[in-house]
């Protein structure tokens, strides 16, 4: 009897210890985001608060300026170029992704749909460094040749267009996969209603299913935008090193926030090192802001489609 009670007490103690251990792991995982924000802000604000060889960076010039070099750290044009490249990539990839998803989810036969799904999954699994190699070794050459054919001199194909193409390839699988889910979760009754009214299958897919899936597709777009804004390695390999801007021509070199953080990273202290944290800080702010705006629109859209 006493033994039994001892056992029970032991069990309760073990139970409690294990639980608090698990809670500790959870708190640790959750605190990472705070660590990130704290560390990036702490290091990112340094260039505006301390002197480097007698100079301090003016935050206003930093955020709106149009020149980037070791004498002028201004990223205004880089922000615009980043948003421009991402916007173009979204404009190219969304129609392709949505149509592909519609094909996979509704039009293709089972066999073909499975093959295509695998293709999309494989594309999603390819690491960004491989996209970067493909971009630097192949896409830039195509862009260069295209430029030559049009009579435009490019910097070896390092350009806005190359960046857009590489980013498009990278976010295509993301948006496609979420769109497939969106199409598959459209209730059958909605489609059947349309078919019963005499609409053809294709008409139903394009006029009814597509509209019903818009909120889900939009979720995919939000994810795609996030991925495109944060993508570093592949873009750095094809974007170039533009020193002033913004530049909107497709065949001009460009510069994104992430490529600026990554390219030329050598030293481990000093202004050129610390400023990269400031750019990282701005990158986080932009990702959050864009996410916030897009989520606002998504809410409005889904409200509209649900009523």
């Amino acid at each position: 009897m006493i033994r039994n009670r001892d056992n029970k007490n032991k069990n309760i103690i073990v139970n409690k210890t294990v639980k608090s251990f698990l809670l500790l792991a959870t708190v640790l995982s959750a605190s990472i985001i705070l660590l990130i924000i704290w560390q990036i802000t702490k290091n990112g604000l340094k260039p505006f608060l301390t002197f480097y060889d007698g100079r301090k960076i003016n935050f206003f010039h930093f955020i709106v300026g149009t020149r980037y070099s070791t004498t002028n750290y201004q990223i205004g044009f880089i922000i615009i170029n980043t948003l421009y490249v991402v916007l173009l990539a979204i404009l190219v990839s969304v129609p392709i992704s949505v149509l592909t998803a519609l094909f996979i989810a509704k039009i293709a036969n089972k066999h073909f749909s499975r093959i295509l799904t695998t293709v999309i999954e494989v594309l999603a699994a390819i690491p960004s460094i491989v996209y970067g190699v493909f971009g630097a070794g192949y896409v830039t050459i195509i862009v260069k040749n295209l430029g030559n054919a049009l009579g435009i001199v490019t910097a070896g194909g390092i350009s806005v267009l190359s960046s857009v193409l590489v980013l498009t390839m990278m976010i295509l699988p993301t948006i496609t996969m979420l769109s497939i889910t969106a199409f598959k979760s459209v209730p059958r009754e909605v489609e059947e209603g349309s078919l019963a009214l005499g609409a053809s299958k294709i008409q139903t897919y394009f006029n009814v299913t597509l509209k019903a899936a818009v909120p889900g597709i939009f979720a995919g777009i939000i994810l795609g935008v996030g991925r495109a804004l944060g993508e570093a390695t592949a873009v750095s390999m094809v974007a170039g090193n533009l020193s002033s801007g913004p530049s909107f021509s497709l065949f001009d070199p460009t510069r994104t926030l992430t490529s600026t953080i990554l390219i030329g990273f050598k030293e481990t202290e000093g202004l050129d090192y610390d400023i990269r944290f400031s750019i990282g800080m701005v990158l986080i702010a932009i990702i959050l802001l864009v996410n916030f705006i897009l989520n606002y629109f998504r809410k409005r859209i889904s409200d509209k489609y649900e009523n």
Partner: protein, 401 residues
């Protein structure tokens, strides 16, 4: 009216066909490009070789007995070595060693300048000449420009190699492969368990309250953080932490700081994968166990986790895939200097960062990059296939699909 509709439908259908075809084209183009450029350079020497180029000056006596071998065309029996005409990185013609017999005296020679012990092996080459002494005591020279055939014939008559400037080109990726293995193992040891425990807590034990909801939303936020930001965190926080742990004061990152950064980066992936693995385990199992009087913790570890094991294995495989493919975070957390000798407190590059290193310089080397890309692609795709297979099996087991 009806024909018009049929035409319109066909056109729309055609557009979806074309759109779908684009994905296939992209995949085929990537695979074709990577394999066409990279497969030639993907040799055993490349995989197992050192990266750093080296040069030696050696002198050595020939063997007393001849070393027979008839597999190679330009083969010198006295030294047990075979040559081939080749070019080096700078596209200069060189004579390259393609085979050294096990019994060859070249396996253990002393560098006459540094006194270092050298083992001449496949991949060594020379661009200038070999100074030899023949059986009659006459000095002769074998020039690299004369080609592999002449070199082997002349060396077959040499009694002694008096002076031979040999080079080893380097460019191998053995060090990067080892670093990648280190990173994978360390990340699985550090980050993976934390992720599993977090997922178990959130999914099985956590009460429903505000505090837990906040923790959950914090963890969800990690999913959207780009890898370059994890790299910045690694540089700012984890490099100092790793230096403290390892008691070193070397400048910059090390393999441990890279592994710590990756451990943090994979957390959201592991948590999500584990939670969906736990989702698959039928709720009845848990209820049945609890009804028998078993407490929550025991139920979780003895009933739920064993049943979720295949899903957790998938999480581990996904983690390995992420570590192999990651580049941006590691560039900041370890650095980009390629090393042949790897240790936890030293620098090094994973395969992905090795690609970045060869592509980021003045003369990007696409051939080497694509050769490594083949390895990365093969590993990542195999891992993903296994994950897919496991989840298919799990669905079958629990849902009878």
């Amino acid at each position: 009216m009806k024909t018009k509709r049929i035409i319109r439908d066909s056109v729309l259908k055609g557009i979806t066909y074309i759109a779908s075809f684009i994905s296939i084209i992209i995949l085929v183009a990537i695979l074709f490009f990577i394999f066409a450029k990279g497969s030639k350079g993907l040799t055993w020497d490349f995989i197992t070789g050192d990266n750093e180029p080296k040069s030696y000056t050696i002198s050595i006596l020939s063997n007393n007995e001849l070393i027979e071998n008839d597999k190679y065309e330009n083969y010198a029996k006295r030294f047990g070595v075979a040559f081939e005409d080749s070019v080096n990185y700078d596209k200069e013609p060189v004579v390259k060693i393609v085979f050294v017999d096990d019994k060859s005296p070249l396996h253990s020679v002393i560098d006459s300048i540094t006194g270092e012990k050298v083992s001449v092996s496949e991949g060594f080459y020379f661009t200038t000449f070999i100074e030899i002494v023949d059986d009659n005591g006459n000095t002769d020279y074998i020039y690299a420009r004369e080609g592999a055939k002449v070199a082997s014939e002349k060396l077959a008559n040499a009694k002694k190699i008096k002076d031979w400037a040999l080079s080893y080109e380097g460019g191998g990726i053995r060090g990067s492969i080892i670093t990648t293995v280190y990173l994978v193992v360390l990340t699985l040891l550090i980050g993976f368990p934390i992720g599993i425990l977090t997922a178990v807590y959130l999914h099985e034990i956590a009460p429903k309250n505000r505090f837990i909801n906040i923790l959950r939303s914090f963890i969800d936020m990690l999913t959207g953080v780009p890898s370059i930001i994890y790299g910045l965190l690694g540089a700012a926080l984890l490099i100092p932490v790793s230096q403290m742990v390892l008691q070193t004061d070397s400048i910059g990152g090390n393999v441990l700081s890279g592994a710590l950064t990756l451990s943090i980066m994979i957390l959201p992936v592991v948590i999500k994968a584990t939670e969906s693995a736990l989702d698959v385990v039928p709720k009845d199992y848990k209820l049945a166990s609890l009804a028998l009087g078993v407490n929550e913790v025991q139920t979780t570890f003895k009933v739920i986790l064993p049943n979720a094991m295949p899903g957790i294995l998938s999480a581990a495989l996904l983690t390995i895939g992420r570590v192999i493919g990651e580049s941006a975070a590691l560039i900041y957390a370890i650095g980009t200097s390629i090393k042949d000798v790897v240790s936890i407190d030293g620098k090094g590059t994973s395969l992905a960062v090795h690609i970045w290193s060869v592509m980021a310089g003045e003369n990007p080397n696409v051939e080497v990059a694509t050769s490594i890309a083949i390895i990365i692609l093969a590993l990542v795709l195999v891992l993903n296939l296994i994950v897919k297979y496991i989840s298919h099996r799990l669905d079958k087991k629990f849902k009878g699909v």
